[in-house]
């Protein structure tokens, strides 16, 4: 049984029909890349899984439990973590406080924070600094670190390399690879080499529909099959 099974979801923003019957599945331990041009519904798919923008029809099953109708914090408590596109760190909280917010009740906070600090040593150096004063790359590391300390079984990662310098992208890729060895991941990423390097499988979205899917090993970043949909 897949850890995450999204079946035929239809999601709207008001009257705007964004997802038109999206289906995908993520096996436990896999990294699945969700690709497509801007505005095709990738972020909305993640929001629908989290129930931030609940689908009007279809089902989202996580570890055998239907998520539709549940509240987002319940989904998070079940072990679904979210690293959003625009980082959305709490800028007025310190680095350590941003990480502490993500540690589930009952977990050892110091131990959880050490996971993030081992992956991103710069965060430990700046643990008492207001998160809003970090550089863009450091903020992305903090957003990833928040996902790592959350004791999540599934991470929904949205455009982690967007707007970052190449050297920082390399650090982020290393962190994602480390996280991928520990957890299951659904990765939205427009950087095709990065996405295909990490992913076991991929889905391509176009106009709110899944138009292609397959094994990541079977395609390359300059494959005509992907270029058709991604302008890669």
């Amino acid at each position: 049984m897949a850890l995450l099974d999204v079946a035929d979801i239809e999601t709207y923003y008001g009257e705007s029909h964004v997802l038109e019957g999206v289906s995908l599945s993520v096996e436990r331990g896999d990294v699945v890349a969700l690709m497509g041009r801007n505005g095709v519904g990738k972020t909305t798919t993640l929001r629908s899984i989290l129930q931030l923008t609940p689908p009007r029809s279809g089902s989202v099953t996580y570890d055998g439990t239907d998520l539709v109708g549940r509240r987002t914090h319940e989904v998070a408590e079940m072990g679904v973590g979210w690293i959003p596109e625009d980082r959305r760190i709490f800028s007025q909280l310190s680095v350590a406080e941003n990480l502490r917010v993500s540690v589930p009740d009952g977990d050892d906070v110091a131990e959880a924070l050490s996971i993030a600090f081992e992956t991103f040593p710069i965060l430990e150096q700046r643990r008492d600094q207001a998160a809003g004063t970090l550089s863009g790359g450091q903020q992305q590391m903090l957003a990833l670190g928040r996902g790592l300390v959350g004791d999540n079984d599934l991470l929904l990662v949205d455009e982690p390399s967007e707007g970052l310098a190449p050297q920082i992208v390399a650090d982020v890729a290393d962190a994602l690879a480390a996280a991928a060895s520990e957890t299951t991941m659904l990765l939205v990423e427009q950087n095709l080499p990065l996405a295909l390097d990490l992913a076991d499988r991929f889905y391509v979205l176009d106009n709110g529909r899944v138009v292609d899917e397959g094994d990541a090993d079977a395609v390359s970043a300059d494959d005509d099959r992907l270029r058709r949909y991604l302008s890669a």
Binding site: L50, T72, H73, E77, R88, F90, R100, V101, G150
Partner: protein, 345 residues
């Protein structure tokens, strides 16, 4: 030009400005004014603290906040009037005051939590005007209820409740000497209680896990929810806490002859609270403390000047408070510590 300066000089002499300035800068006078300002600041911060906590997290301008303060004043007064007898000593009265404060905090928190769950929660997805109208409606209902109940028991709703005022311990009612400075005991008590309230709220927000959730939710409630925080429950807790603190402030005002327990206290306490949170920055607690200090000190200073130098016209200091608001809105509309956008659901 010289003629204008001479006219200004004559006018200042006529109102006794120079003599007044000489008196004002005397250390004992200045210290008294500062202490009075701090006691006013303590009251303003206590009233405004709940208002700013609620706006910071929920994005709701709670127009019922003043009514909750008024209910707190009456309930606190009720506890005191029922428990204090003729022979009750001053320290026993003080202890009973803290009991009254705890009772009021509990009852007002429960009332605030109920208002949030039953009335405000269904309106979070609506434009802010719905919440403003609703809380304004709650104010009207609470004021009318208070008017009916107070009238039923033969009390004058527009005048301060004298029996409650009479439960104050003697050492708070009389002036206390601090070296050359003479200050009413109640003013010192208000400063102490205000400082304790600020410390308690500050400690709760910065030292507890729930406080961390509140600060995170104030910045980005959707992200906080996605990290596993039940933001809806945090909203209820914060509204309850804000209402409880409003009630505690009311309990203190019950003893203050300038305020007292009366139905108009609802509006009288709401207006300066809004001024304080706007000057400090809507939704920031440290801004509320800073705004309270500014308003309190300006209030005390202008009160002294108008009463001792210019003319005894007691509502002029209130005009000064609103002048600060006007200046603040022109110079720094987001307030001292304000950010462009807070709260939200």
């Amino acid at each position: 030009m010289t003629l204008v300066l001479e006219l200004v000089q004559q006018a200042l002499l006529q109102v006794g400005f120079v003599d007044g300035l000489a008196e004002f800068v005397r250390p004992s006078t200045f210290a008294e004014v500062v202490l009075r300002g701090l006691s006013k600041a303590a009251i303003y911060v206590m009233i405004a603290a709940g208002l700013t906590l609620i706006f910071g997290l929920l994005g709701v301008l709670n127009f019922a906040h003043g009514a909750l303060t008024m209910i707190g004043a009456y309930l606190g007064g009720l506890v005191m009037v029922l428990t204090v007898a003729q022979g009750t000593g001053p320290w026993a009265r003080l202890a009973l005051f803290f009991v009254a404060m705890a009772v009021v905090f509990g009852l007002l928190s429960a009332l605030g939590g109920s208002i949030e769950v039953s009335l405000i929660r269904p309106l979070y997805d609506r434009p802010p005007i719905y919440q403003i109208l609703l809380t304004f409606g709650v104010t009207l209902v609470l004021e009318e209820l208070a008017r009916i109940v107070v009238g039923f028991y033969g009390l004058q709703p527009l005048a301060e409740w004298q029996a409650a005022l009479g439960t104050i311990p003697a050492f708070l009612e009389t002036s206390q000497s601090l070296g050359p400075v003479s200050v009413r005991g109640l003013a010192l008590f208000e400063i102490l209680l205000g400082a304790l309230t600020v410390a308690a709220i500050w400690g709760f927000l910065t030292r507890t896990r729930y406080g961390l959730f509140i600060r995170a939710g104030s910045e980005d409630s959707e992200m906080a929810e996605a990290l596993g925080i039940d933001v809806r429950r945090v909203f209820t807790v914060v509204f309850a806490l804000g209402a409880g603190v409003a009630g505690v402030a009311g309990t203190l005002l019950m003893w203050d002859p300038v305020w007292g327990a009366s139905v108009p206290l609802a509006a009288e306490s709401l207006l300066p609270a809004f001024v304080v949170v706007i000057i400090g920055g809507l939704g920031t607690f440290r801004g509320t403390v800073a705004g309270g200090l500014i308003v309190g000190l300006v209030d005390a200073t202008t009160t002294w000047w108008f009463q001792n130098v210019v003319v005894e016209w007691t509502w002029l200091p209130e005009v000064a408070i609103f002048m600060i608001l006007v200046v603040a809105l022109i110079v720094r509309p987001q307030g001292i510590y304000g950010v462009e956008e807070v709260g939200g659901h």
